[in-house]
Symmetry: C2
Subunit: 177 residues, 2 copies
């Protein structure tokens, strides 16, 4: 009887520790997400990752964007840990930069710009210093309408630009307090 009861406890603990109310432990998730990206799939739940910062790019990009990070990314930003730990994933989402007539009408002046349709793809950086040693320890991935960009030259061009930020572990974005 005692042995059975302990087994029940063990099952309950393991089961709940793995998934509770949709919350899965960070280590397992980081691994699964990194693998999904390397296999050309969007990692589930990335849209709910915590916000690192926001930005606006004029010119050809002409978008407004958000940079989100998985738990490891956010923890590293908050603690100032550099280089970023293995399994760090950072994602950049962007949208068209649209004037909001509805908001402007309410404010009584032309001043409001909001996120419109998705634009310029969804871009990921995944930290694995062994696997991606030749590109500074990061892989670069882009998804357009959910489909992975497979043009190696274009993906290599990400690294060429990020090289300028080698002193920040190849990351452009600072945490917005």
């Amino acid at each position: 009887m005692k042995r059975t009861a302990l087994l029940v406890v063990a099952v309950a603990v393991v089961g709940l520790a793995g998934v509770v109310g949709g919350a899965v432990l960070p280590s397992r998730v980081a691994h699964e997400d990194a693998r999904a990206i390397s296999e050309g799939k969007l990692p589930s739940g990335y849209r709910d990752w915590s916000l690192i910062s926001v930005a606006r790019e004029e010119g050809e990009l002409d978008d407004i964007r958000a940079i989100l990070g998985n738990d490891r990314a956010i923890k590293a930003y908050r603690t100032g840990t550099r280089p970023f730990p293995e399994g760090t994933i950072i994602v950049r989402i962007a949208w068209s930069y649209d004037s909001s007539e509805e908001n402007n009408k309410t404010f009584g002046r032309q001043q409001s710009f909001i996120a419109g349709h998705p634009k310029n793809g969804v871009q990921f950086m995944v930290k694995d210093s062994t696997k991606y040693a030749s590109t500074g320890g990061w892989s670069y991935a882009q998804f357009d309408d959910g489909k992975p960009l497979t043009d190696a030259a274009k993906l290599q061009s990400c690294f060429e630009c990020h090289k300028a930020f080698k002193d920040h572990d190849f990351i452009f974005t600072s945490y917005a307090p």
Copy 2:
């Protein structure tokens, strides 16, 4: 022995269901966060809430901003549920709109604007249709450097502007896909 074992299981289940790896159940959190705001305190963890959208305000505000929501807000946005359910909390964070010389140098042109220092306070809307019936079922709160704004006239002015969006349950922001 059997009774003791079941008690152990029960304790394990309750304990783990409440908090696992820092993840707390949404219902309890929504209630605690709403109470914190009403008591003039920033709710813990709001900076990690999921992103609803981003925006840029020119003019006097002159900021770049992010709108985040608690679990209830995000679920309502995704399912198109209106009015928003009780306990929905939406927060607007904003930063100075800074030209990034570092990014511009890398891109080889003037195009990049990033989030600088925190600006224009942190603003919350909390849904409680009974408690806040006189202001459309929402309370409005603002924190400047972590301190609550207590000027009733200023807080009332939030509602006066949001009134124009009564058809969207008083919410300006749409979900950025």
